[in-house]
Amino acid sequence: MKVKNHSRPHKTQMDGFFEGDTETPIAMLNLLKFKEKAEYEDGRETDLTGKEAYSIYGQEVVKHLAKVGGKLVFGGRISRLMIGEVEDLWDSVAIAQYPSRKAMLEMLMDPDYQKSEEHREAGLEGQLNIEIKEGEL
């Protein structure tokens, strides 16, 4: 089976996100793959690794999450796969909780958040972002 990491959603993924339930809590599971060296879109010089640039985003995003009532549940470095196989294993995993899709959108639209995003884009090669409805399982 194929898996493809992206750094931005497709239009169909964005559209799908606004359809249906935008009011109840969701969690977002991020499977992250970093660039070796950070590359900023404005072309600035940097010695940061991709992971270091993304860490700046990670630290700032904790505050942006708090503003909309969300939080980072956990994040960590992926050591290995215990079951299954992936050709190019992700580097890190992070799970964020949001009170609703609406709250997540509010964060994404916040100019402060968008400023932090430059570090995300500089550091991230691609990711899966899996929307999760927390429940009994």
Binding site: M1, K2, V3, K4, N5, H6, S7, R8, P9, H10, T12, Q13, G16, F17, I26, A27, M28, L29, L31, L32, K33, K51, Y54, S55, G58, L72, V73, F74, G75, G76, R77, I78, S79, R80, L81, M82, I83, G84, E85, V86, E87, D88, W90, S92, V93, A94, I95, E125, G126, Q127, L128, N129, I130, E131, I132, K133, E134, G135, E136, L137
Partner: protein
């Protein structure tokens, strides 16, 4: 006429592929869900350090449960797996581990997978030893039959929670 329609379907399929294959995506890579670790995975697991670990499970269920002992059942794969989860909460607690998060996979906002997983769960173990102790417990091995009956396959991703580690 029929041929023409098939051609149209193929072309529109290709168009979709080209559009979705935008410049933000990196090369696709393959993955394979599995039911159990392979011997190399087991060996590497056993050789790791003894810090707390998190196990992120991405789960794909069978439509209908199939027990390895061939017993008759009307359960769906998901129902069989739910029996496993209910029982395993106790097995986890016995070794000081817990399920910290779980639920349904709704969809993907970023990236693509050929076949999306159905559900996910994250378990936290105080150590590798604790996880091995659970896996060897005869009561767990009994519960695991429901897991194998319900699960088509999964990824089980070992995560170190050291320093929040982005």
């Amino acid at each position: 006429m029929k041929k023409y329609l098939i051609g149209l379907v193929i072309i529109s399929g290709l168009m979709f592929f080209l559009i979705s294959n935008d410049s933000d995506s990196n090369e696709s890579n393959s993955y394979k869900n599995a039911l159990r670790p392979n011997p190399i995975q087991l060996a590497e697991f056993a050789l790791g350090d003894d810090d707390p670990i998190l196990m992120v499970n991405l789960l794909k269920f069978k439509d209908k449960a199939e027990y390895e002992d061939g017993r008759a059942t009307n359960l769906t794969g998901r129902e069989a797996y739910e029996i496993y989860v209910t029982e395993t909460r106790e097995h986890l607690a016995d070794v000081g581990a817990e399920l910290i998060l779980g639920g349904e996979v709704n969809g993907l906002l970023l990236g693509e997978v050929e076949e999306l997983w159905d559900a996910f769960g994250v378990a936290r173990y105080p150590s590798r030893k604790a996880m091995i102790a659970m896996a060897r417990n005869p009561a767990y091995i009994e519960s695991e039959k429901h897991r194998a009956a319900g699960l088509a396959g999964q990824l089980n991703i070992e995560v170190s929670e050291q320093g929040f580690g982005f």
